[in-house]
Symmetry: C2
Subunit: 447 residues, 2 copies
C-alpha cells in the first residue's frame, strides 16, 4: 500500500462535545482505522451526576472533572481541540470552528448536550444560576456559603439579618438534590461554625410547577421523595409556578417570597448546535433521530445524548447519563459496521433505572435491572453511592472522591468550603434597614 498522508486514506470522524456521549463514542473508536477529532469548548469532561456535590462544597472541582486530553492521551488515532463549532456545512461535509479553522469529516457526531432554559426570561439567569458546568457549581457554592457569612456579619453590625431563605426552582432530580443538600449544610454542617446566627433556622423552599416532584418517576417514588425532603426540613411547594425573579425575591403563586439565594433547576433546552443542522427540532431544541441515531436524510451525521430526541416504546429516552453513554458506544459500533460493509445495528436503550439522592442519607431509585424494584430511603442511598462510585471508572479520583464522602459522612464537615471570586450576592439587600434611628444606633454600636 502506498504511503499517503493518513487523513486522506482513513475516514475522519469529528466528535463535537466530550460529555458522556461524545467521550464514549471517542473511546469506542480507539481501535478502528479512523482519525478522530474531539472538539469541546472546555478542556475537561465533567461527571455531571456529582456536580451538585461541588455546588454544595462536598467535593472539589478536580474530583469530578478531568482533562479530555488526559483521558484520550494514549489513543493514538485521536486528537483533541479546545474550540467551538459555529457552522456545519453538510453538503461539503465541513464544520467551522470559532477560532477560524475548518474540519472536514466523513462522520460527524454531535453530542453537545443541553443547557438551562429560562423559558425566554433570560434576565433571570444572573439572579438564579443553574447547574450545568464546573463554573456554575462554584458560583452556586460561592453564593450559598457567602449568604451565611453576610448574615453573621450583619448580625454583628446591626443585630439582625435578612431571613436565610434558599429557593430552589424546579423539582426534578437536580432541584431535589440541591434542596436536600442545602438543608444538610444548614442543619448539620454549619451548626458549630457561627456565633451570632443559627444556620439551622434557614429555610429551604423547593418550588415545582407540576403536581409532584420528580415528575418523571413513578408517583410512589415522588411521594417518598417529598416525604424525605420534608423530613430534612425542605418546604416543598408543588403546583407552584414562578412568575417573577428579582434581586432578593421570587414571585410564585401570586405572592413574593424573600430569597437570599435563588437557584434554577426548572428547565433545560438542547444546545443550539441542533439549529446549525437545519433539521426540524422538537420543542426543546432536540434533534429527532432514527434507529441508527441519524437525523432524517443525514446518514453520516449522528446526534447523541441530551441533544437527541430518540423515541422508544412511544416515549422519548430521558436526557441522563445512561442513554448518552449507550448512544456513544453504539455510534462506534455503527461506524465499525460501515467499515466492514455490514448492516448498521439499530440502537436500543437498555434502561437499568433512575435514581436521585435526597440529602445525606436518602434517595429514591426506580430499578429496572438486574431486577425491577422501587427503592427509597437509606437502601436507595447506598445503591446510589455504589453505582456512582463504579461509574466514576476511568477517573483517577475515584478513591479520593470516596474518601471525601466517607470523611464528610462521619464528621459532618465539608471538604471544599471555599468562597472564591467576588463577595457580592445578587439576592442580598444592599441597603441596611431603612429605619434611620436604627441606622444611627448601629453606627454607634460597638461590640
Amino acid at each position: 500500500m502506498a504511503e499517503l498522508p493518513r487523513q486522506t486514506t482513513r475516514p475522519r470522524v469529528v466528535i463535537v462535545g466530550a460529555g458522556f456521549a461524545g467521550l464514549r463514542a471517542a473511546l469506542g473508536l480507539a481501535h478502528l482505522p479512523v482519525d478522530v477529532t474531539v472538539v469541546d469548548r472546555s478542556n475537561h469532561h465533567t461527571f455531571q451526576p456529582l456536580l451538585y456535590q461541588v455546588a454544595l462544597a462536598v467535593l472539589s472541582p478536580a474530583d469530578i472533572a478531568q482533562p479530555i486530553r488526559s483521558i484520550l492521551r494514549k489513543q493514538a488515532n485521536t486528537q483533541v481541540l479546545m474550540d467551538e463549532v459555529v457552522a456545519i456545512d453538510t453538503p461539503s461535509r465541513r464544520v467551522s470552528l470559532r477560532s477560524g479553522a475548518q474540519l472536514a469529516y466523513d462522520y460527524l457526531v454531535l453530542a453537545t448536550g443541553a443547557t438551562h432554559s429560562y423559558f425566554g426570561k433570560d434576565e433571570w439567569a444572573p439572579l438564579a444560576p443553574g447547574l450545568k458546568t464546573i463554573e456554575d457549581a462554584t458560583e452556586i457554592r460561592r453564593q450559598v456559603l457567602l449568604a451565611f457569612e453576610l448574615a453573621e456579619r450583619q448580625m454583628v453590625e446591626q443585630g439582625s439579618h435578612p431571613p436565610l431563605n434558599f429557593v430552589v426552582i424546579g423539582g426534578g432530580p437536580t432541584g431535589v438534590e440541591l434542596a436536600g443538600a442545602i438543608s444538610d449544610i444548614a442543619q448539620l454542617y454549619m451548626r458549630h461554625d457561627f456565633r451570632h446566627i443559627d444556620p439551622s433556622k434557614s429555610r429551604v423552599m423547593l418550588l415545582e410547577g407540576s403536581p409532584r416532584v420528580l415528575a418523571a418517576y413513578p408517583p410512589d417514588l415522588s411521594a417518598k421523595a417529598e416525604a424525605a425532603l420534608t423530613r430534612l426540613g425542605v418546604e416543598v411547594h408543588t403546583k407552584t409556578q414562578v412568575t417573577g425573579i428579582g434581586p432578593g425575591w421570587v414571585e410564585a403563586a401570586g405572592s413574593r417570597i424573600d430569597a437570599i439565594v435563588t437557584l434554577w433547576a426548572a428547565g433545560v433546552q438542547a444546545s443550539p448546535l441542533g439549529k446549525l443542522l437545519g433539521a426540524t427540532l422538537d420543542r426543546r431544541g432536540c434533534v429527532p433521530v432514527d434507529r441508527t441515531l441519524n437525523p432524517a436524510g443525514l446518514p453520516n451525521i449522528f446526534v447523541l445524548g441530551d441533544l437527541a430526541h430518540f423515541e422508544q416504546n412511544g416515549h422519548q429516552v430521558p436526557g441522563v447519563a445512561q442513554p448518552a453513554m449507550q448512544m456513544g458506544d453504539h455510534v462506534a459500533r455503527i461506524i465499525a459496521a460501515d467499515l466492514k460493509g455490514a448492516q448498521r445495528p439499530a440502537f436500543r436503550y437498555f434502561d437499568k433505572g433512575d435514581m436521585a439522592t435526597i440529602g445525606r442519607m436518602a434517595a429514591v431509585a426506580k430499578v429496572e435491572w438486574p431486577f425491577k424494584a422501587h427503592m427509597s430511603g437509606f437502601p436507595a442511598w447506598i445503591t446510589w453511592l455504589t453505582v456512582h462510585i463504579f461509574f466514576l471508572i476511568g477517573f483517577r479520583n475515584r478513591l479520593s472522591v470516596f474518601a471525601a464522602w466517607i470523611w464528610n459522612y462521619l464528621t459532618f464537615t465539608r471538604g471544599a468550603r471555599l468562597i472564591t471570586g467576588d463577595q457580592r450576592l445578587p439576592g442580598w439587600p444592599t441597603q441596611p434597614a431603612a429605619d434611620p434611628a436604627a441606622d444611627a444606633r448601629q453606627k454607634e454600636r460597638v461590640l
Copy 2:
C-alpha cells in the same frame, strides 16, 4: 461574681488576618479568659508554601485552603468575621470594618501579611499575575494550561503557533518554584497530550535583577539552585532588570522577549494596614516592632508576620511562615502574661532554616536545626516534602495532599488540570499572522 455580659468583663482581642501569624495567635488564646474576634477578607486560611502547586495544577484549592470558621469552630471564646478593617482608632481602641460595623478592642493583633509590589507599575498587574491567593493560583493555572491549548488550536488552524515562552520575573523562592514547576509540566506531564505541538519545546525563562537566584540564601545554595534549574531546562538570567511588560512581551536588559505567559514573583510589599496605624514604616511598608512585637508607643497593639519589621542580630527576620507562626504563638504568651500580671516575655525567632523546591525532585535547604547544614538535590527535596507534610498539621487534607503528590510523582499526571473562567490570554497575539496570502490559505485549509 455578678453575671455581666461576657464581653464587658473579659479583655477583647481583635485579630486582623488569618494567615499563619493570626491563626496561631487565635489558637494560642483558646484557653485564656478573653473574647477573640478574627477578621479576614477571605473565608479561608491558605497554606501559602504550597500555593504554587495549585498554580501548577498538582493540588486543588481545597487541598491547601480551609475555612477559618472550621479551624476555630470548637474554640468557644472566638468568633470569625469575613470582613475588612478600613480604619483604626488607637485612642478610642476601635477598628472600623468595611461593612460599617465597629469593633472595640483591648488588644489588637495585626497580621494581614504582604501582597505583590509592581514597584509603582500597577499597569503590569493584569499582564503578569503574582501568587498570593487561591484566586491568583487558579488564574496562573488557567493561563499556563490555556497557552498549550491555544497553541494546539492554532497549529491546526494555521500550521504554526507563537513560541511557548513562559517568563517568570523574580528569582526568589516563589519564582524558582514556579519556573521549575512550569518546566516539569512542559517536559514531563504534557508530553503525550498533544498531537500537533511539542510541549517540551517550551522555553521557561527566569529573570532576576540581582546577581544570583535565592539571594537570601548562602551563595553555594544559590549556585546549586541555578544548576538544578538549568538541568530542568530553565533559562536563568541574573542581573537582568525588567523595564517593561506588555501583552505578549517582556522588556529586559535592553531587548524584548516574546512571552506567552508572564508571571510576577519579583516584589512584595506589606499590606496597607500598617498605614492605618500612623506608625513610621520601612520602605516595604512593614511596621517596625520591638521585642514584644509592639509598634512604638502602642503596647496593646501587636504586629506580626510579613507585616512586621522585627530585627534580630542586626537582620530583619524574613517574611516566611516560620517566624509568622512563632510570632502568633508568642502574642498569646504575652497576653497570658498580662492577665497574670507577669512580665511580658521578649520574642526571639528560632530559625530552623529555609528551603525552596526546584521542580519535581530537587530542592535547596539551609538547615539551622537540629543540625546546621546546606542541603541540595534529592535529599533536600525529601526533607522539604517531609517538613511540609508535617506542617500541614491541622489540615484535614494532609493525607489526601500526600496521596496526590505520590500519585503525581509516580504517574507523571497532573491532578487538577482544569481551565475555568474565560478563554482569553493576555499574552496571546489576538491577530493571526499578518500575511494576507497566508490568511487566505488558512481559510481554505481543511484538515
